[in-house]
């Protein structure tokens, strides 16, 4: 049973004269206990999608969809007040910049207790302290962290605090928005190990937003490839990384030094992102695709089920038959 069902999600940003269509027609079901890596380069709409799901878009952003369900419950057509009741309790989000997500002038405990009070005002200070020390222990932080200020912690420790904050109410779905991007290699590796352990311990479903295929390869079970606001491919991580079907996925994977055959030149993707104010009527990758043909110009390809994954490409049957 899918935990999160998204159907035809569109997210736009209003500008002075026009609108940027950041996410278009995004349809995806995320099953329970899946760890889904959402991969995309800058401007692909991956963070916009996460913010839209949490209803924390900036003021000029708005979301349309035909359906969004969490645990079979409609979360699209409910009021902000109703949404507040399930935010952080059923789904939470962890941001990239822990440094700016935490207040520099309050102790860690006060900030975490604040989050608890915002959702469950009846919890007492002592109860909270007990709960939080246990939680910090789980993410391998000493209990004294509660009495510290953010500047006393290292980047990795701060990100652990943020993750434990996201787990306070044991939510079903956790969105990790580039959580390891700002960290050093070893700290990143250690945190990824931790995330893998927590996912099992808390029986989490995770949406992990990142630009790094290597990170997805380490922790995720599924991967979704986002390009210029559209979902182009979705399936098992290893299948897609080692045998991509969509031309963009293929080009992306070939740009990665690890996956480049030894001795050959690294291929990039020539060209630039399409205009998101007036997105093209054709396949979104048409301009930069090396397999393009005339059929690709006419209309948009559907996201179709193909060999156990979802692919958006007119020529997939022909190229990978």
């Amino acid at each position: 049973m899918p935990l999160l069902q998204m159907k035809n999600v569109d997210i736009n940003y209003r500008m002075k004269k026009n609108e940027v269509k950041a996410v278009r027609d995004f349809t995806l079901d995320i099953n329970e206990r899946d760890i889904v890596g959402i991969i995309g380069e800058s401007g692909s709409g991956k963070s916009t999608l996460a913010h839209g799901l949490m209803r924390i878009l900036p003021r000029n952003g708005y979301m349309k969809a035909s359906e969004i369900k969490l645990n079979n419950k409609d979360i699209l057509n409910i009021s902000d007040e109703e949404f507040r009741e399930l935010r952080w309790i059923e789904m939470s989000i962890v941001f990239q910049k822990a440094m700016s997500a935490l207040s520099p002038v309050h102790k860690i405990f006060d900030q975490m207790y604040d989050t608890i009070l915002a959702h469950k005002p009846q919890v007492s200070r002592n109860e909270a302290e007990e709960k939080l020390s246990k939680l910090l222990e789980i993410v391998n932080l000493p209990k004294k962290t509660l009495n510290m200020y953010p500047h006393e912690l290292s980047g990795g420790m701060m990100q652990r605090v943020m993750i434990s904050l996201g787990l306070i109410f044991n939510p079903k779905l956790v969105i990790l928005d580039e959580v390891t991007t700002a960290l050093d290699v070893i700290t990143q590796g250690q945190l990824l190990d931790e995330i893998k352990r927590l996912v099992n311990e808390f029986k989490l479903t995770v949406m992990m937003i990142t630009h790094d295929v290597g990170v997805v390869n380490e922790v995720c079970t599924k991967i979704a490839i986002l390009y210029a606001g559209e979902l182009l491919e979705y399936g098992n991580v290893k299948d897609i990384i080692f045998e991509p079907f969509n031309p963009y996925t293929q080009a992306l994977v070939e740009s990665h030094p690890d996956l480049n055959p030894e001795g050959s030149t690294l291929k990039g993707i020539p060209g630039i992102l399409p205009d998101l104010i007036n997105p093209p009527e054709s396949c979104i990758f048409y301009d930069r695709c090396k397999y393009r043909k005339d059929i690709c110009k006419n209309g948009k390809p559907e996201l179709q089920d193909y060999k156990g994954r979802k692919v958006k490409c007119f020529r997939v049957g022909e190229l990978h038959g």
């Binding site: 800058s42 290597g214 080009a251």
Partner: protein, 320 residues
Amino acid sequence: MDKNILEVKNLKKYFPVRKMGKKQYVKAVDDLNFSIREGEIFGVLGESGCGKSTLGRVINRLDFEQSGDITFLNNVISGKSYKSDKNFRKKMQMIFQNPYDSFDPKMLIYKSIELPMKINDVNSDAGSRINEIVETMNKAKLTPAESLLTRYPHELSGGQLQRISIIRSMLLKPKFIIADECVSMLDVSVRAGVLNLLLTFQEELNSAMLFITHDISVATYICNRIMVLYAGKIMEIAESKDILDNPLHPYTRALVSYSPIISKEEKKRFRITGEVVTPIDPPPGCRFASRCPMAKDICKKEEPILKEIGKNRKAACHFV
């Protein structure tokens, strides 16, 4: 490839800090010894705070060493400032991480490229300078060159601007290039183009390069040899393939095992704990001892020297 273009001996760079009224030093770069051959791409790999950028800045005389010798093209350059030495600047060029910071935002692109050529007398005549710029832009597939050149930096994408900043350096035909994290803020698909451009020019001019990065995948793709730094000290120097496939030093082993390198085989972590030691008056012994799973008593007392291990290979560890 046999002649050394750059030799660094006992290079130290300390930054003074005052703590509780006591004068102490951040030992950003501490006693480095290495040399770079002609035409070689030499990678400096390390995490934040390991001193890799400081090293680049000291070599390029943007910062000055505490002590030690740097020999560049058989001239001792340490102890001098080279603030107005055109000849030196022309031979050694630097490419920075953020191209938006390394271009004057109020200057048209072609002016930004032309000015260093004019100052360094690459081409005396303005018309032929422009011709050369356009030609190089076309070669780098930055087209239409004329339209790109008459824009301002904010009108270009990060990848385009970084490629232009490489062109700007390369038009001076430098003998030595220092690239400081020059692709770390770019998307993967753009990164490839920038790296390839760097390689094309480097091959054409046969210049040597100091490539500073934190990304082991990029380092092994582009570099001939890699030097691994940790808290201001050299841990290991080896050919890139050896660093990736057969790291010897415990720190390198940890670094490789924790990197999100994509491969079909499952890899095992070489587990370490703790955080990087503070570079402010660090304890005696090996800098990595407090986190090293192989550490014995000797590691905390005696500092390991960088010793030769096999061909083209050095490591600083008591147990290698």
